[in-house]
């Protein structure tokens, strides 16, 4: 069975058929994706699946990873935070190091990149490669995975010098787009239904997760999965839980997130969260390693309702993950959560802990509505936020760039 065939039962035969039809128009084309890490992070996860799928469609797709030292990644991490609005500054020396690292990588990758029909450069780390690839013949696309809706202007203006010469860019939301002299496609991210964090789990696995974390599957449970970050408002979630628990005394709350070893603010927020939780035995603050995909999967499946009560959010793929598991989501009325939570249909959009508490109470006391919302949530993800849709839109961008004929492209 091919990889595409494995997606057919979950994404639908018609979705796979569309991919094959579009793929026919790109057969044999050389496509190179470039990012800065092979393992870890959402971009690597997506590329690990997208590239083999493209190859199955007959596209000559490959994935290259640039290499840099610790200073390079410190610089690009600072750049990443600044592009998301942090007021960090980057020294001239750091920028020189960023550019020289890209020059070294360009020397290694130059022939391959110059020969490609399409080059997808992911995020800011390899952005200067375009200007360092003389004789390039293909179309170059800058794929921005981060929220640049309110960037640090100095850092954005610096990066813009490298990005503006691309043939196109791709942003996850229209609100992230910038003033650029080329076409800016809007392609939301996606989840992989066949990944460990999303596949169905058997009862023994669910039971073992309950035992490991001391959870009672017979009692009601609400779960938020996210980093310990003030914008995710974990303390607000605890407040919502306490308000709802008055009416559902057996209610349990799980706040599960990754470790915060490289993020001083993360440590502080984790400490605040633990303090707010106090000695309530029904609040479980779980710090999980980055590869705890199956445990996160189980926690989302054990939940009656999933929360993502962010006060600011880029996209919030944990929302789609929960919805894929048939859970209604109570989410903050911000950013990409609005695309996923269709108010009163797949969950509720809220602005305060009180609003979240009211919706938790409502759903826990209306199990029929809760189930119905969960079913709609799963359907919405199936139609809009699976990897197959993401791949289709990448193929569409490539076809568009080959034709460049206004707002309608007819393929014969």
């Amino acid at each position: 069975m091919t990889l595409l065939d494995r997606y057919a039962p979950v994404a639908g035969e018609d979705a796979i058929s569309q991919l094959r039809q579009l793929g026919e128009h790109l057969r044999g084309r050389k496509v190179v994706h470039v990012n800065s890490t092979r393992v870890g992070g959402g971009v690597a996860e997506i590329l690990a699946k997208l590239v083999p799928l493209k190859r199955e469609l007959g596209i000559d797709a490959t994935w290259e990873v640039i290499e840099g030292d610790g200073d390079f990644y410190t610089t690009t991490k600072t750049m990443h935070n600044a592009l998301q609005g942090a007021s960090s500054s980057i020294s001239k020396e750091q920028l020189a190091g960023y550019e020289s690292t890209n020059s070294r990588n360009a020397r290694v990758l130059s022939d391959k990149l110059a020969d490609a029909d399409f080059v997808f450069i992911h995020d800011p780390q390899p952005a200067p490669l375009l200007g360092l690839t003389p004789g390039r013949r293909g179309k170059w696309v800058w794929r921005c995975h981060i929220d640049v809706s309110r960037p640090n202007r100095h850092v954005w203006q610096y990066l813009r010098r490298f990005v503006s010469d691309y043939d196109a860019s791709i942003f996850s939301l229209a609100a992230f787009s910038q003033e650029l002299p080329h076409t800016q496609y809007v392609i939301p991210p996606s989840i992989d239904p066949l990944a460990d964090k999303n596949v169905p789990l058997d009862d023994p696995k669910m039971q073992s997760v309950c035992e490991e974390f001391g959870l009672d599957p017979e009692r009601e449970m609400i779960v938020q999965v996210s980093r310990f970050d003030r914008f995710k408002d974990p303390v607000g979630v605890i407040r919502a839980y306490r308000l709802a628990k008055k009416f559902s005394p057996g209610l349990q709350l799980v706040l599960a997130g990754g470790g915060a070893t490289d993020d001083p603010e993360g440590d502080a927020v984790l400490a605040e969260t633990r303090e707010a939780a106090g000695d309530d035995a029904d609040i479980h603050v779980l710090v999980l390693p980055p590869d705890a995909h199956v445990k996160i999967n189980a926690l989302q499946r054990l939940a009656d309702v999933v929360l993502q009560k962010s006060t600011r959010e880029g996209f919030g793929l944990t929302v789609a993950e929960a919805m894929w598991k048939g859970k209604p989501v109570i989410g903050g009325d911000v950013g990409g959560i609005r695309l996923q939570v269709v108010n009163h249909h797949t969950g509720f959009l809220v602005s305060t802990p009180e609003g979240a508490a009211m919706r938790i109470r409502y759903l826990l006391h209306h199990p029929g509505i809760l189930r119905n919302m969960g079913e709609k949530a799963r359907l919405l993800v199936r139609n809009n936020f699976l990897l197959t849709r993401h791949l289709r839109e990448y193929l569409t961008v490539m076809v568009s760039l080959l034709h460049e004929t206004g707002d309608r492209i007819e393929l014969s």
Partner: protein, 210 residues
């Protein structure tokens, strides 16, 4: 349909009117019809993005209602449709002393569409094959043949009526009249498909009306 950010936005009604004068017609198209390809559940409160924004962004339900009632199928082309939207907005601006503002987070973002059309390989030679073919159509095929067609066919109708009329002239007049009754703007694509299949089956399946 690919969505393309135009980089243009509006935070109040005057800005929306000013931008509307200049945006690409494909943006007017996207904001009237693109919603049908987005997540859909039941009856939406408003039927185009301008009306939704008037309600959600500007908190002006009266304006939202006036914008929502603009039916794109009533207008010959996108320029006439664009003018209709601008007229409603200008009426509203004439009534109010100060334009209503919304936050940057809730600003109206102009997006334009780019449609990529490719052959599905499904061919129907005779009208009798239409019901089964329609039943197997994807949402995007329904959009292309039943909605987008109105923008590109000489009589501004959906592809089924165009094909039946061109090939079989008077023979399927009654069926075409029934197809014309299906209103794609006020339903979801799933509802449109369901109505389409229902009509085609009634008229073309064995023992049907024709």
């Amino acid at each position: 349909m690919a969505a393309i950010a135009t980089g243009r936005s509006a935070q109040n009604l005057k800005e929306l009117r000013d931008e509307l004068h200049y945006v690409d017609p494909a943006s007017v198209y996207f904001h009237f019809w693109g919603g049908l390809l987005r997540p859909e559940f039941g009856d939406p409160s408003y039927h185009n993005d301008f009306a939704r924004w008037a309600h959600d962004g500007l908190h002006n339900p009266a304006l939202a209602e006036r914008l929502s009632v603009i039916d794109p199928t009533d207008h010959d082309d996108l320029e006439v449709l664009r003018r209709a939207v601008i007229d409603v907005i200008e009426d509203e601006l004439d009534r109010s002393d100060a334009p209503e503002w919304t936050s940057r987070e809730n600003r109206f973002l102009f997006i334009r569409s780019q449609i990529v059309i490719f052959d599905t390989g499904i061919i129907v030679d005779e009208p009798g094959g239409l019901p089964a073919a329609a039943a197997s159509m994807s949402r995007s095929s329904v959009f292309y043949h039943f909605i987008d067609a109105r923008r590109r066919t000489p009589r501004a109708t959906e592809d089924f009526t165009t094909w039946l009329t061109d090939l079989h002239d008077e023979e399927h007049r009654e069926l075409c009249t029934e197809l014309a009754r299906i209103d794609p703007f006020y339903g979801t694509l799933a509802e449109t498909k369901s109505s389409l299949v229902d009509v085609l089956e009634r008229f073309l399946a064995k023992g049907g009306a024709e």
